[in-house]
Symmetry: C2
């Protein structure tokens, strides 16, 4: 398979979620424009994404939802699934646990980590919380490959070094501080304040031009 564009990967994940929804409602087939409407994008983009993963629908009947879901699964997921650690069991960490629960995903939150003694050794939404010092040990034991950093504090770079050392292969960083990781670790960063300021900017701009 040729290299999938970043954005296509993101959209495939989203398609799958709404396709699972359709399946749950007893729907069997779907047209590109239906998928497009669910994600307010164009039907062409949907067809192009689907083309890129080598699936073909049937003319005038659309795509077989189950087949498409399965294929997206083959592309995105690993057979055994992947284990995720949440670093920082604050509000955001707990929100993530909630969001993932019941999503019959191949991603399993296998552990949480914190420095707060009150949180360590407790269970949050079914996730055991360990002290950050146990990181390496637990990452090995639970075969964790992915970490989500949700600490509001500014220890981020230090934490990321611990993660890399422990053998983590992908990091999703929700901290406002950007971090540096070696090439073999995939890094995705997202900053909520920036998103909010972006919305604010475009609201301001629209107000001016209207």
């Amino acid at each position: 398979m040729k290299k999938l564009p970043d954005k296509t990967v993101e959209r495939l994940s989203q398609y799958r979620r709404s396709l699972l929804n359709c399946l749950a409602n007893g729907k069997k087939h779907i047209f590109s424009h239906e998928i497009a409407n669910l994600h307010h994008i164009t039907p062409v983009q949907v067809r192009r994404d689907i083309m890129l993963i080598g699936y073909t629908g049937t003319l005038r009947k659309g795509y077989d939802i189950q087949e498409l879901v399965d294929l997206i699964g083959e592309i995105i997921d690993t057979d055994e699934g992947q284990n995720v650690a949440i670093i920082g069991i604050g509000n955001l960490g707990r929100a993530l646990v909630t969001y993932l629960q019941g999503k019959r995903s191949k991603l399993r939150i296998a552990a949480g980590f914190d420095i707060n003694k009150d949180k360590v050794d407790r269970v949050y939404g079914g996730v055991q919380c360990y002290h950050i010092d146990q990181l390496e040990e637990i990452v090995k034991k639970e075969n964790i490959t992915i970490a989500v950093i949700t600490t509001p504090a500014d220890e981020t770079q230090k934490i990321s070094e611990m993660l890399v050392k422990a053998g983590i292969r992908g990091i999703l960083n929700y901290t406002p501080t950007a971090i540096n990781v070696p090439d073999h670790v995939y890094l995705e960063e997202y900053d909520m304040i920036t998103s909010l300021e972006k919305v604010a900017f475009f609201v301001k701009k629209n107000s001016l031009t209207v």
Copy 2:
């Protein structure tokens, strides 16, 4: 001012945050490559962004941090600031309140909304929580222009219609369900599960090719 690219707006917000940090540490000037290092991007991109907002540094001395911060503020912020509502005072909503506190931002979280009777009329991190039925009333009273949807549930489209009706001009949607809004409302959507699945995909891919 010519139209700023989306991505430039995002980066300006991020630059400002680290520049404020520098200021707090007593730093007065900064080079493009220093800013670049803080955000692991290239110096060219930094210079280009700064060029687009019409600021010029001094050769061999870099950019005056205070001036740059002020200019970014002029571009992103409004003079009076903007008021934000959080829809859904769950974990994610509370995380946002925490993240914004003490960030001396022009964005003020003016109200929270929920349907849970236990949450209504309480104060979370300094933010008063109202029942969702009071939305229109409070939005007018507090002059709220921006809403962040952080409900995990699937009432999203209905909520977004309420927001539009109440006069909201920009929405940041953290729900996994995409929503439709009229053209005059700016919409930004972000899906945490998708980000996580994206990381998982690239971790898998790297494992295969290495």
